[in-house]
């Protein structure tokens, strides 16, 4: 806004309220975590004991090493798998590519630990594929528990993110750039390496960061399929859960280290990406062409194989949800027993999920509209700080936010632990960014003069906002809200820390049922989650008129 007079108005108040919310539910908890990590839990004295303990014991350093190995491998592998996938889907005509894209999107939206448990059912010690291969070829597949299993699950789960990022960037590459390169006799792989790769590198890095953060923070997957392969989130969870009521300072100390590490990675990525980012928009995007012969077959095989592997967990889980069960074991024949059992046993978790996610989404929608407006149209020191706050959830893993909230709000003056409020607060903080981003994206398109026109016609600030600005943003807001909604109902790492008997969510229920070996109930609930996700996505497509999602 050029030279608008700085006035105290209703927006200052709104900014203040939102700011206060972030201070209470994000800044304060993180600060409390920091304090806790530096003070001895029993004596209350300042001490570096937790940190020395962490860095001096091979047991802990081993977990750090494991986490780094997993995270780096998953990130690199995802780029190697999804980069070519996006490239193929951009240049080559693939039969059913629309469906393929939607399936890949759906696969990326499920909770990773559901993938882990599905792959255990498929490739585990007693998995159907393992047994099948043993029966037919008489040989035992290598074990998937531990590092390789985590790698498989997280790569399949997270490479769709890179696929979506890179596809988006490739869509913005103008075909004339390719033709110009060809006209200068730069063709084939050389053209790809010299022109395309540099252009999409910033996007690849941004997608890579997202994958890195998610793989680093994921706790359900190593917990289920890791079998003793301890990563840092597992460590934090175990320390925290086993020491509830006692000394949770050590979990806090590990959390602080993790957040510092994540911040460093985040800043590094920003630094690299900023130095080589291009703004592109293609008048004449690359058209997919029909490939010939071997190339065509190879392209199809690659795309279909990836899609099948990515969809396999959800498809198989859905299949088993309709299998007959006897106790905890699947038997021949089909029935809806698992669903009946699910509603009977953990029906409350479905109810909880809908209520809490519903309330969260209302708050998110409101807050996102206001925050997007403040940060886009009312630039200033406070708006910038707010912008930074909204970015924080990208680098604070969900379980750590959960712990931070718990250590802050489990004592006077504000006791929230065990209530739905603390879960909702965590959900709001973690999933706001999606909606803010999509709202801000639309708002950037809205020219300042539209609002000035309304004001010059005598409308008040609030009337201008509600009558003019909000209606113009609304499609972006709803689109973002749906993505936030999906990510709330499928999130585990925060809820597993914060839930109690009364506030159990569906993902928590799936997780506990899987751990207990009640695969039928778990499958029914997971399938329900997938169904809700698919329906929500359909709604998203209808509202946004788009066929893709940006995260």
């Amino acid at each position: 806004m050029t030279g608008r007079m700085k006035r105290w108005d209703i927006w200052s108040l709104i900014t203040f309220v939102i700011f206060a919310g972030y201070m209470i539910f994000l800044a304060l908890p993180l600060f409390m975590l920091l304090i806790k990590s530096f003070f001895d839990g029993t004596t209350g004295d300042f001490s570096l004991a937790y940190f020395t303990k962490f860095f001096s014991k091979a047991y802990y350093m081993n977990a750090v090493w494991n986490s780094i190995k997993v995270t780096v491998s998953v990130t690199v592998l995802s780029m190697l798998v999804a980069g070519p996938l996006a490239y193929i889907m951009t240049i080559a005509k693939i039969k059913g590519s629309g469906t393929v894209r939607i399936l890949i999107l759906i696969s990326s939206m499920s909770a990773p630990f559901i993938g882990a448990y599905a792959w255990i059912l498929l490739l585990g010690r007693n998995g159907v594929i393992t047994n099948f291969i043993f029966d037919v070829f008489g040989f035992r597949m290598p074990d998937i528990y531990g590092f390789s299993g985590i790698l498989l699950v997280l790569t399949l789960q997270l490479s769709p993110l890179i696929f979506m990022y890179v596809s988006g960037a490739l869509k913005n590459v103008d075909n004339s750039l390719m033709e110009a390169a060809e006209s200068m006799n730069c063709t084939g792989l050389r053209k790809m390496w010299k022109i395309l790769v540099p252009l999409i590198t910033p996007t690849l890095l941004a997608g890579g960061l997202l994958v890195f953060m998610r793989a680093f923070a994921d706790f359900g997957t190593p917990m289920l399929i890791g079998e003793g392969y301890r990563t840092v989130p597992v460590l934090i969870f175990n320390e925290f859960i086993s020491e509830v009521g006692g000394d949770d300072g050590f979990a806090a100390a590990i959390s602080v280290i993790v957040v510092l590490f994540a911040t460093a990675v985040f800043l590094l990525q920003k630094f690299v990406a900023n130095r080589k980012s291009y703004s592109m928009s293609a008048l004449n995007p690359i058209e997919p062409k029909k490939l010939k012969g071997i190339a065509n077959a190879a392209a199809h095989v690659y795309v279909y194989l990836f899609t099948i592997l990515a969809m396999m967990p959800q498809a198989y889980v859905a299949y088993t949800s309709f299998q007959k069960t006897s106790g905890k074991i699947f038997v021949d024949g089909y029935s809806l027993d698992s669903y009946r059992a699910a509603f009977a046993k953990v029906g409350d978790s479905i109810y909880n999920t809908f209520i809490m996610a519903g309330i969260t989404i209302v708050i998110i929608t409101l807050a996102a509209v206001l925050i997007a407006y403040v940060t886009v149209k009312r630039k200033g020191a406070v708006a910038n700080l707010l912008d930074t706050f909204t970015m924080l959830p990208y680098i604070v893993p969900g379980s750590i936010l959960g712990i931070a909230l718990l250590v802050t709000f489990n004592k006077q003056p504000l006791v929230l632990s065990g209530t739905a409020v603390i879960l909702i607060a965590a959900f709001v903080i973690r999933r706001l960014p999606y909606t803010i981003r999509s709202s801000a994206a639309v708002l950037h398109q809205v020219n300042d003069s539209i609002e000035e026109a309304a004001i010059s016609l005598g409308a008040s600030t609030m009337r201008t906002f509600f009558k003019i600005t909000v209606p113009m943003m609304i499609s972006g807001v709803f689109a973002g809200a749906i993505i936030s909604w999906i990510s709330i109902i499928t999130e585990l790492s925060t809820s597993i820390i914060l839930y109690t008997g009364n506030t159990r969510t569906m993902t928590v229920a799936v997780y506990t049922e899987v751990v207990r070996g009640n695969y039928g109930v778990a499958a029914a609930l997971s399938t329900l989650l997938t169904a809700i996700t698919v329906l929500s996505l359909l709604l998203f497509f209808k509202l946004s008129g788009k066929k893709e999602v940006t995260m």
Partner: protein, 368 residues
Amino acid sequence: MSVAISFQEIVKKYGDTTVIPELSLDIQKGEFFTLLGPSGCGKTTLLRMVAGFNSIEGGALAFNEKVMNDVPPGKRNIGMVFQNYAIFPHLNVSENVAFGLQNRKVSKADQQRRVSDILNTVKIDIYKDRMPKNLSGGQQQRVALARAIVINPDVLLMDEPLSNLDAQLRVDMRNAIKSIQREVGITTVYVTHDQEEAMAVSDRIAVMKSGVIQQVGSPRDIYQRPANLFVATFIGRTNVIDAKLEIGTDGEASVVVGRDYSLPMLALQSQVKPGESVAVRISVRPEEFVLSEDGRGLAGKVVNNVFLGLNTHLVVKLDNGQEVEIIQQSAANDEVNIGQTVRLAILSETINVYDASGERNLNRGTRI
């Protein structure tokens, strides 16, 4: 009810940079007033100060004596037409136009009547239920205009309202704007950097450069008696030629161009004493050159010749190497060949003479 606008030593600063230093200007009631100047000279800035979207760092802005500096935009009763129209995309044509009325205490019936009246005036009544995205550029422009004037504003402000339209439509729309303005009689401040457009619509024009007004006057004044060389070259095309101003012993002034081409000047004001001479610069419009028949005039060689139907444009290289532009009415057999030597006479009654710096017009009766 329209108002007179007065700017009294108005100052605009962005941070430490002063964009408009102490500008004073009076715009009369009901006048169509245009701010004209090159890109970045501060036209938009000044207009937005009138609208209230830009703060004022010094001086006073008054509507009919009432100081407006601290009145918020919504309370100034202005109508504003934006360069990109700023039509509300989610409201249809009548809703767009009615928006301003809804913010005022106007009854529903009155609203409807005024909206349909104004849509008639701007000739888009048949589109009243259309959504903006289904309108052409010119139609959107009319909606923007209707929306701005339906509230009976005291002042109508327009910032390059036609710059997004194609050439032919621009001409049609500027005529429409002019006639609608005359019909409703609102004081109008119009911003453009298209001088032909400014000439066509304005009662008076202010030519600006770097935040400073160079000249205020009617389109005719500004074209025929530009206050300085900047205005002369900015408005229309002209040839600037170095010359000498000589005052004869009898006090008669003449301008000597080239070696010995002397033009008697009747209405010059200067401090030069009889018998002395001083360097000046003259501005000769292309149509103020004629091909000389009697052998008097500046010698030169034709280097280009473009036939444009009604007119023929010539470029002539003078003996001193300077190239000048000439516009002649085309006649049946007046073809001048490239390379041909010619003599150029100057129509001395209409040319303008400036001091050597180009800052001051020496022709008597120039209004600044």
